[in-house]
Symmetry: C2
Subunit: 218 residues, 2 copies
Amino acid sequence: MSDDKLLDAIIAQTKLTKKQTDKQQKIVETAIKLFAEKGYANTSTSEIAKAAMVAEGTIFRHYGTKDNLLLSVILPFIKDSIPTMAEEVFTEIMSKNVGCFEDFLRALLKNRLHFINENREIFQIVVKELLYNDELRKELLPFFADNILHRITKVINTYKDRGELIDIPSHTIQRMIFTLIGGYFVSRFVLQLDNCDIDEEAEIENLIRFIMDGLRKQ
Amino acid sequence: MSDDKLLDAIIAQTKLTKKQTDKQQKIVETAIKLFAEKGYANTSTSEIAKAAMVAEGTIFRHYGTKDNLLLSVILPFIKDSIPTMAEEVFTEIMSKNVGCFEDFLRALLKNRLHFINENREIFQIVVKELLYNDELRKELLPFFADNILHRITKVINTYKDRGELIDIPSHTIQRMIFTLIGGYFVSRFVLQLDNCDIDEEAEIENLIRFIMDGLRKQ
DNA sequence: ATAATAAGTGAGTAATTACTCACTTATTAT
DNA sequence: ATAATAAGTGAGTAATTACTCACTTATTAT
């Protein structure tokens, strides 16, 4: 509870006041780069200061603690982008294509792919710290669940009612889609396993085909 | 090259000589526990020493560096268990059930589930460090590829020849299976997202059904 | 123009880090 | 039994860590 207040305060400050100094911006920029590259625990504040060409004290003037810097990097991204995006995505996709589930899936996948492509580094940080940092995981996972998963479940239910989807629990379906798409993004953007010989469009279509119809012939 | 020699030496030493001291065993045990819990970077050697009730010097007597301790924990597990297991799994599974691909998948999944269940902590360490530690990733990923993936590709090709599987590139199929099963294991054993309301047997069957036939009704 | 506030600095600090080394104690080979 | 070797110790060390604080410089409000 008190934690949430603090975090909300950080976000409010970062968003509302808006007047980030040049140095402040440089610090966050550099922190994102280094955290993504080497992980939070392997990046020292002195390293960030040097790379951002700023006195180490400046970091602590603005962010107080190293932990706070991480949160200032991650949380605005999460708490701002995700829900807004989610809202946008789901309403837009659902209204535009009243088409089949496959079309919904394709739109969702392309949208997310584009989004993560634009935010590779923060995605890398979030994934790494989600595994490494217990506190952060406990903070973020429920947030994901509340904002993303229940929306997907809704959509799945809609299509299930239309008789387009098989009859297993919605949250199981949602979980498998999430695992597959999430796994695809992680292997591509975090592990950077490049599948160089196949183009992206084809890869997406393969993924969708797999999700829709599985591996069995016919 | 020189790295590989060193690592092989570590493994040879740990395996062949076999005469691990009580203290040595305690150190490795404790390191596994702490690395799994808090991650390598967040665990200090003094912490390990204290928890293992050993002088800090003893750790360095045996392992030389902290990095080496990590390798001594991970590599014997990887380089020993994985190939042996893989061999075992693939020959056994393939000879016993000359059945359909679904049966192969079921056997593989259950086998791996059992294996990881028995080695939760090391699995946690490997996954975490695979994302966090560039060096280790570069060392391990090719090893995985050589030992596991090409075997799966072989099996997939067999079943493709029998006309049981759809006609997309084998390595794409293999990658999607790996992503899905890997993602399932990670979400379960590392993120520890518990799906408390469904029993394991049913969950596995859902997973297999999804892989085989996808989400589309009929 | 001036006062008040915020931004920025960098030397300094206590704590912690991985690691060493001279030494003692246990184990093994003879 | 004795010598040789390996295992174990813990005080010590240089480097690094996150963070502080007295101070200077820039920005804003009046």
